[in-house]
Each structure stands twice: as structure tokens, then as C-alpha cells.
């Protein structure tokens, strides 16, 4: 491949082929951090520096008020994440980081769907919500809001089912995750 500094031209294919180390799977990264200003920027900055796109990002408190947990997901088929995990470890405010194996992990997401529910559609929507163990949390004459928790796949499936009825809008939290078994995440 051509080198910076020389006049050799690069082709777009060469540029794309030069990225290696992709894992090909989705990654759920759980990061335990000190609850201090700027921590989130430092972490997201490490991803941004390499041009990585974070798919979801959740920050919340833990059982110890000094620490927060950040759960983020990204697609390993787009980005090699090994090096970025090591760099995350170097941040002074980061205590622990786990690249969770999907098989050993319980991951859940919360979503709310606002659906147009006029006339006969309403009953059908409620039925689908019931099958997905969703809950109706708001009803007006022309709409319902359904709250649904579950895996990202389940939420995507529900979205596909209800979209034809008129999906006004949807809000998703992004996944949180915890490892299976007795050990700490």
C-alpha cells in the first residue's frame, strides 16, 4: 500500500483493506469508573479517536456511590476493539473493564413505543404487546405508549410487528448487562 510522504496514489479499496483485527461479533463492554466529571468524555474520546462508532451507551450508579457503571455496545465486525480496551484500562478513573461474552451475559434493554392506535388497531396492538410481555403505560384516544424490556433482539422484533400500525416514535435505553453466575461483572 502507498505510504504517506510519497507521491504514490492510494485506491479506496486499499484504504479499506488496511483495517485488520476485527472480531466479527457484537461486543458488550462493561466499565466500572469513578464517579467524576469528564470520565465519560475520556472514554468516548478513545473510541472517537479511532473513528469507532458506539452503538449504545448507558451510564448509571452502582451499589457504591463513588463508582458508576458504563455499559456500551459496539460492532466488532466494524471495529477491532482489543487495543481500545487496553487504552481504556490506562485511564486513571477506570477501575475495571470487561468485554462480556454474550453467552455468559444477561443483557437487557428498556424501550418505549408510542403507537398510533385508532379504532380496531388498538386491540391488535394490545394483543401483540401482551405476547411480548410489554405494558401499556399511557393511553389517549388516538395513541398508546407501550413499555417493553428485554434483549435488543426482542425489542427489534416488537418494533417490526407494530411498525405497520403507525409507529409515532420510539425511545430505547441501550443495553445494560451483568455477567452470569456468582462472580462480579
Amino acid at each position: 500500500m502507498g505510504e504517506p510522504g510519497t507521491k504514490e496514489l492510494l485506491s479506496l479499496e486499499e484504504l479499506e483493506a488496511s483495517v485488520s483485527g476485527r472480531s466479527g461479533r457484537k461486543h458488550i463492554v462493561s466499565i466500572l469508573v469513578e464517579n467524576k466529571p469528564g470520565v465519560l468524555t475520556r472514554i468516548s474520546g478513545l473510541f472517537a479517536r479511532r473513528g469507532f462508532n458506539i452503538d449504545t451507551l448507558v451510564v448509571g450508579p452502582t451499589d457504591d456511590e463513588r463508582f458508576s457503571r458504563i455499559t456500551l455496545t459496539l460492532d466488532g465486525s466494524n471495529h477491532p476493539i482489543d487495543q481500545v480496551t487496553k487504552q481504556l484500562h490506562k485511564l486513571v478513573n477506570v477501575l475495571k473493564i470487561r468485554d462480556l461474552e454474550p453467552a455468559d451475559t444477561v443483557a437487557r434493554e428498556l424501550a418505549m413505543f408510542k403507537l398510533a392506535a385508532d379504532g380496531p388497531a388498538r386491540a391488535e396492538i394490545l394483543q401483540i404487546a401482551d405476547i411480548f410481555r410489554g405494558r401499556v403505560v399511557d393511553v389517549t384516544r388516538r395513541s398508546v405508549i407501550v413499555e417493553l424490556a428485554g434483549t435488543a433482539d426482542k425489542i427489534a422484533a416488537f418494533e417490526r410487528m407494530v411498525r405497520p400500525f403507525g409507529l409515532v416514535e420510539m425511545s430505547r435505553t441501550g443495553e445494560i448487562a451483568i455477567s452470569r453466575g456468582r462472580g462480579e461483572t
Binding site: M1, G2, E3, P4, G5, T6, K7, V33, E34, P37, G38, T41, R42, G45, R49, Q83, K86, Q87, H89, K90, L91, V92, N93, V94, L95
Partner: protein, 558 residues
């Protein structure tokens, strides 16, 4: 006491005797505290000069350098030295003033988001939230800067928070739950490395700046001499192993020796210590050292297997690991004669490909000759601070360093303008040794204002400008790789450097004659106080040998 007086107390407690800085509106309270403090403050002429001076001080002494700047433009002016310190792992604590808290985020006068701007270029940073946390933050900053893989730490202090009375109590301990660098190497891995060394037939040590940071020169030298191991280093690692020496094969990489690069190419075992396989070292990565297994010793786990997969990774402090590796290696009782054939090969390269240049036959000064003359005139007993470009490569090639912390350059970031202020900092930190600054006609002008600082404080740096009237390294690349289309590398008109020196109150000389050069250099160096010498050298001289960009190490040219 006032929070700013507590800052002075903390600096004293950290053993700081000198700082470099520049006052402004947002750090007025701090500068009021300097008025009564015993800490020596060197007033630089530009904050970038202050940052590089703190780096030079840190590199020459091994202590943490300290730099003060005000908010806004003061803070943005230290962005380059901060990045430089980050790339070369230099322990420096930067204190920046900040607008008062009620103005934060309002585009107040001289406000910049210093904390945000500098986030990717610091080892860590703090924004003071409450005056009482100032002492603890300062001690944490020094601790982070000097331990593990050293690096720059920034403390941003809103001006109102520094004007508060606080109860100051000395801070005895530092607790950082997320920061616990591994310094003890794994014993099993160390034993594996010793075995690999004992079995290797073509081993080589490849060391970097990490050995110097760790203060591990003695341990390295002893281990390398425990057998007849060949050793090369990066340009950052010069002086960790004393050169010249029969086992030293020169430094490696783009402008390193052929011997070092060929030995890496044919080695069966490479022991990397405190080095990071930079692209300027490896050349074409896929063809780098294709026959070698790698032992990689580094205090920073993120460096291991970053560019080249390590077969035996050892995370730990080089001083700790090398000492234990020596013990383990001796226990192996390896047969030194297994290296005979390897040395025959290496000696063959050495004889065939020494560093060389075509010297002039008249009075013209070749830049390489100037460096040789500097070495001869000083017997190598100097600290050499370099700027960035061709002169940097020649200085590294033809001046030899037999002690650590004698060679100070900007390796990772390649910052033009680094040399003079860094040399100034080194001279302040190390007054017993002569400090040379090797610069170029372009580099020197990127921080020439620090000549005034040198004159005011009598900092006796001896600056030698390799003046070829070109941005030499860029010109070389345009000549070799861009069909000699010399685009904007001939500045046409430079200042008269002798007059410039004199205008700043610095002794100025101009040397143009090779035949008297060594004596002229002695005379310049013997001149008391700071000196700047304009040395007219060959205009179009290339730095060789060279690994062309994208080429493999074995295909060196020139």
C-alpha cells in the same frame, strides 16, 4: 492559609526547586504566592517554551518538570509541549489558570475549555472543583506523572477557587483506586525469556526510552554484557547502553545503522525493552523481523502486542525485570560460543556498512562533520538537546552517548522548536554539565524567543545551528520521493542569526570554515553564558542511510 500558598507548600513537599512559567490574569493569585516563595521561577518568553523547558528539565534530571500558564491562550500555547510529553512519556505537571467558576462555559475573557482540549493528550488531568481538594490533587498529579509509564498531568485551577483560605494539612498518601501500575514482572515469564535468550542463536536487544525512564541503564548494561548480546536502541533510548562499545550496533529505524536494521531483520529473538515498535523503527510492518520471536518488556500493557505480537510479554518496570532476568539468565549457563556465527555476520555488516558520508576536500562544512567536530571538541561530555529534522538525525548518528539523560530530543511528536527551550530546561536542571543545543535554521526560529530567557538568567546553553538554508528534511523527501519538486522548502530569507543572538543579549558567532572548526567550537563553548553559532553547512545534503517510507528494513538505501 491561601489555597495558592498551599500550592507552594505542595510543590516543596514534592521536591520541586524550579518551575517554568508565564503569568496572566487567571493565575494572578498563584503568581502572588510565588512572590514570597523560595521556589525558583524561570520566566519564559512563550508558554510553549515553558512547557518544553519543563520537559528538558525532566528528561535531563529524571525529576518531574513543572510548568505554569494562564487560562485561554496561555493554556492553548502548552498544547504542543503537552502532546510532546505524552508521546515521549515525559513526567511534567502543568498548572493552568482558568476563569472564575461563574464564567465557565460563557466565553469569558481568556476562557478556553482547557480540560476538554487537553483530554486526549494527557496521562491524566484534573479540574479543581473545590479549593480544599487542591493539595490532594497536586500530590496525585505528581504521583501519576512520575510512576508507571511517566507522562504529563494537567491541573486546571479556576481563579476564584485559588483565592480561598483553606486549612492546609500535608498529604501523606495518595489513593487512586483505578491507577495501580504493574511494576513486578511475572517470574514465570521472566524465566521463559531467560530460556529463550539461552537458546537463541541470533538474539538482539532492542531498547527504548523506557529503559531511561526506569533508571535501568546499569541493569541493562549488565545483562547485555552477561553474554555477548548485540544491542540496538531507538533514538529515544540513546545513552541507556554506553556507546561506542563493541556490543553496540548503533540505533535502528529509518535513519539508523544498516548493521542494526539488518541484525533485526535476521534475528531469531528480539528482546524489546521499553520500546514501542514505532513505524519509524519497523519500516514495513509485515516484513519487519520476519524470523524473530519477541520478548516484550514494558510497564504499559497497552504497548504489548500493539504493533507486533509478543511471544513472551512481560509487564513490569524495566529495572525490576532486567535485574531478575539477569539472575535467571545466569542460571541457564548458556554456551557463549553459540553466538560466534552471529557475531561474524554482524561484524561483516559493520565493516561493510559503517555510517559514512562524503566529506568535503575544501573548507566547506558538511553537517555530519560539524557533529563529529562537536563530539571531538567536547569529548562527548555534554548534554545534547536537539531540534527536529536532518540535524537531529545527524546528531544522533555522529555524537555518541555513554550515559542516560544526555540526549534530549522530541522523538514521538517530532516538534520543531523543541530544542532550545528543552536545552534551557536541561541546563537549569543539570548546571554541572555543558548543554549543547543542535538546531536547524528553521527549527530555531520556532522558539527563538527563549534566547531572551537564557540571557536574562545566564543559562549557558551553546546553540549550534546547522544552517543549510532549507527546511532540510522536507526538501530531502521532495528530492527523493516527489521528483525534486521543491515546494516551499526554501525560505529565501533568514534573519542574520549572529545579529539575532546579539539582539537577545547572547554571544553570536558564524563559522564557515571547516579547517578551523574544532577550535572555533572550543572557543564558542568556552565563551561564558549563552552562545548561538550560525554554522553554514552544505546546502543539499541528505540524511543516510534511510529506510524509504513503506520499505522493509533490509532494503535500506544510501
Amino acid at each position: 492559609m491561601r489555597a495558592v500558598d498551599a500550592v507552594m507548600e505542595c510543590l516543596k513537599a514534592e521536591g520541586v526547586d524550579v518551575v517554568f512559567g508565564y503569568p496572566g490574569g487567571a493565575n494572578l493569585p498563584t503568581y502572588d504566592a510565588f512572590y514570597d516563595s523560595d521556589i525558583k521561577h524561570v520566566l519564559v518568553r512563550h508558554e510553549a517554551g515553558g512547557g518544553h523547558a519543563a520537559e528538558g528539565y525532566a528528561k535531563a534530571t529524571g525529576k518531574v518538570g513543572v510548568c505554569f500558564a494562564t487560562s485561554g491562550p496561555g493554556a492553548t500555547n502548552i498544547v504542543t509541549p503537552l502532546t510532546d510529553a505524552m508521546m515521549d512519556s515525559v513526567p511534567v505537571v502543568f498548572f493552568t489558570g482558568q476563569v472564575r467558576t461563574d464564567l465557565l462555559g460563557t466565553d469569558g475573557f481568556q476562557e478556553a475549555d482547557t480540560f476538554g482540549i487537553t483530554m486526549p493528550i494527557v496521562k491524566h488531568s484534573f479540574m479543581i472543583q473545590h479549593p480544599t481538594e487542591i493539595p490532594r490533587v497536586i500530590h496525585e498529579a505528581f504521583h501519576i506523572a512520575r510512576t508507571g509509564r511517566p507522562g504529563p498531568v494537567l491541573i486546571d485551577m479556576p481563579t476564584d477557587l485559588t483565592r480561598v483560605e483553606i486549612d492546609y494539612e500535608p498529604v501523606g498518601d495518595v489513593r487512586l483506586p483505578g491507577y495501580q501500575p504493574t511494576t513486578d514482572g511475572n517470574q514465570k515469564q521472566i524465566r521463559l525469556a531467560a530460556k529463550a535468550l539461552a537458546n537463541a542463536r541470533r538474539p538482539i536487544f532492542y531498547t527504548g526510552g523506557g529503559v531511561i525512564s526506569a533508571g535501568a541503564s546499569a541493569e541493562l548494561t549488565e545483562l547485555v554484557r552477561a553474554d555477548r548480546f548485540p544491542i540496538t536502541s531507538t533514538i529515544m533510548g540513546l545513552g541507556a547502553y554506553p556507546a561506542p562499545d563493541p556490543q553496540w550496533v548503533g540505533w535502528l529505524g529509518m535513519h539508523g545503522t544498516r548493521t542494526a536494521n539488518y541484525a533485526m531483520d535476521e534475528a531469531d529473538l528480539i528482546v524489546a525493552v521499553g520500546a514501542r515498535f514505532d513505524d519509524r523503527v519497523t519500516g514495513k510492518l509485515s516484513e519487519f523481523a520476519p524470523r524473530a520471536k519477541f520478548v516484550h518488556i514494558d510497564v504499559d500493557p497497552a504497548e504489548i502486542s500493539k504493533n507486533v505480537p509478543a511471544h513472551i510479554p512481560i509487564v513490569g518496570d524495566a529495572k525490576n525485570v532486567l535485574a531478575r532476568l539477569l539472575t535467571e539468565y545466569r542460571a541457564q549457563a548458556a554456551d557463549p560460543s553459540r553466538l560466534d556465527a552471529w557475531w561474524e555476520r554482524i561484524d561483516g555488516w559493520r565493516t561493510q556498512h559503517p555510517l559514512r558520508y562524503e566529506d568535503s576536500t575544501d573548507s566547506e562544512i558538511k553537517p555530519q562533520y560539524l557533529i563529529e567536530a562537536l563530539y571531538e571538541a567536547t569529548k562527548g561530555e555534554c548534554v545534547v538537546a536537539s531540534d527536529v529534522g536532518q540535524h537531529q538525525m545527524w546528531a544522533a548518528q555522529y555524537y555518541h552517548f555513554d550515559h542516560p539523560r544526555r540526549w534530549i530530543n522530541s522523538g514521538g511528536l517530532g516538534t520543531m522548536g523543541f530544542g532550545l527551550p528543552a536545552g534551557m530546561g536541561a541546563a537549569v536542571g543539570n548546571p554541572d554539565l555543558t548543554t549543547l543545543v543542535v538546531s536547524g535554521d528553521a527549527s530555531i526560529q520556532m522558539n527563538a524567543q527563549e534566547l531572551a530567557t537564557c540571557a536574562e538568567y545566564g543559562i549557558p546553553v551553546k546553540v549550534f545551528i546547522l544552517n543549510n538554508g532549507y527546511l532540510g528534511m522536507v526538501r530531502q523527501w521532495q528530492e527523493l520521493f516527489w521528483d525534486r519538486r521543491y515546494s516551499h522548502v526554501d525560505p529565501g530569507r533568514w534573519p542574520d542569526f549572529v545579529k539575532l543572538a546579539e539582539a537577545y543579549g547572547v554571544a553570536g558567532f558564524r563559522f564557515e570554515d571547516k579547517t578551523t572548526l574544532v577550535e572555533d567550537i572550543r572557543r564558542a563553548i568556552a565563551t561564558p553564558g549563552p552562545v548561538m553559532v550560525d554554522v553554514r553547512v552544505t546546502r543539499e545534503e541528505n540524511t543516510y542511510p534511510m529506510i524509504a517510507p513503506g520499505a522493509a528494513a533490509r532494503d535500506m538505501v544510501g
